[in-house]
């Protein structure tokens, strides 16, 4: 696992997973509820799911509804996934973007890279920022 924060606009984290790219993509999306961390800093507690395809949503179950964490703008199975990211703050206008890339490596493994970008356009006290920081701080 390696990570980098070389500018103020984007963060990138990457790792190599020992499954092929098609499997990595389908596990990432179909099984998001199984791998997305369950501690309070990562989710409110409800089940999570992807609606497949462009226009689909990444949803997290809350008490009596589902909240949208992101909306799919690019859906290329086995290759690439891009989400217009709202995050748990549920405030419109943050306009950050999360891209997940799946790139084949040797031995049928896959480099998976997550890039979360567009932060320069988000004011410091915007709930999109505060939400994540606050959610992480108690634990």
């Amino acid at each position: 696992m390696s990570a980098r924060a070389s500018s103020t606009d984007a963060i990138t984290v990457t790792t190599v997973v020992a499954v092929d790219a098609a499997s990595a993509f389908s596990i990432f999306t179909d099984e998001v509820d199984l791998w997305w961390r369950r501690e309070p800093r990562y989710r409110a507690g409800g089940p999570m799911r992807f609606e497949p395809g462009v226009g689909g949503r990444l949803l997290e179950g809350a008490a009596d509804a589902e909240i949208e964490l992101g909306r799919v703008t690019t859906w290329e199975p086995g290759r690439r996934l891009v989400l217009a990211w709202t995050g748990a703050s549920q405030v419109a206008g943050a306009r950050t973007e999360v891209e997940i890339r799946f790139e084949p490596e040797a031995d049928a493994s896959t480099r998976v890279t997550i890039e979360h970008r567009g932060w320069d356009a988000v004011p410091a006290r915007h709930p999109a920022r505060i939400g994540l920081t606050a959610a992480r701080s108690p634990a």
Partner: protein, 119 residues
């Protein structure tokens, strides 16, 4: 650094010219004229952006040393450290969030593969 100061820094950066200016200043302090030329801006336009960056605490100016002592208008702009330390620390939080998620994804995907016995 106060939250209000971080607000000001972010507000100043919500503009492509000012972000580009910050990128140019990362390498080294520069004169306003160099910054204008590098971006194809008129001196007054550059001056306006630099004023915003200065009043928001992102850059500071200093008189250039001896060689230009006669000309008080020649100033060099440099990045202030504080706002960037704060921005980087905030991004480190975002980075930690996704690094944790990616690690959890990797563990799950490889555990699943192991259970299937595939190799």
């Amino acid at each position: 650094m106060s939250a209000a100061a971080v607000d000001r820094a972010f507000a100043a950066l919500a503009d492509p010219v000012r972000r580009r200016t910050v990128e140019l200043l990362r390498a080294q302090p520069r004169r306003a004229g160099e910054l204008a030329e590098a971006q194809g801006l008129t001196p007054p336009a550059m001056s306006r952006h630099l004023r915003v960056l200065r009043t928001h605490g992102v850059v500071e100016e200093e008189r250039e040393a001896a060689a230009t002592a006669d000309d008080a208008r020649v100033r060099v702009y440099r990045l202030r450290r504080e706002p960037f330390a704060e921005l980087q620390s905030w991004l480190a939080e975002v980075e930690a969030f996704w690094a944790d998620q990616l690690g959890a994804f990797k563990a799950h995907a490889e555990r699943k593969r192991g259970k299937r016995g595939a190799q």
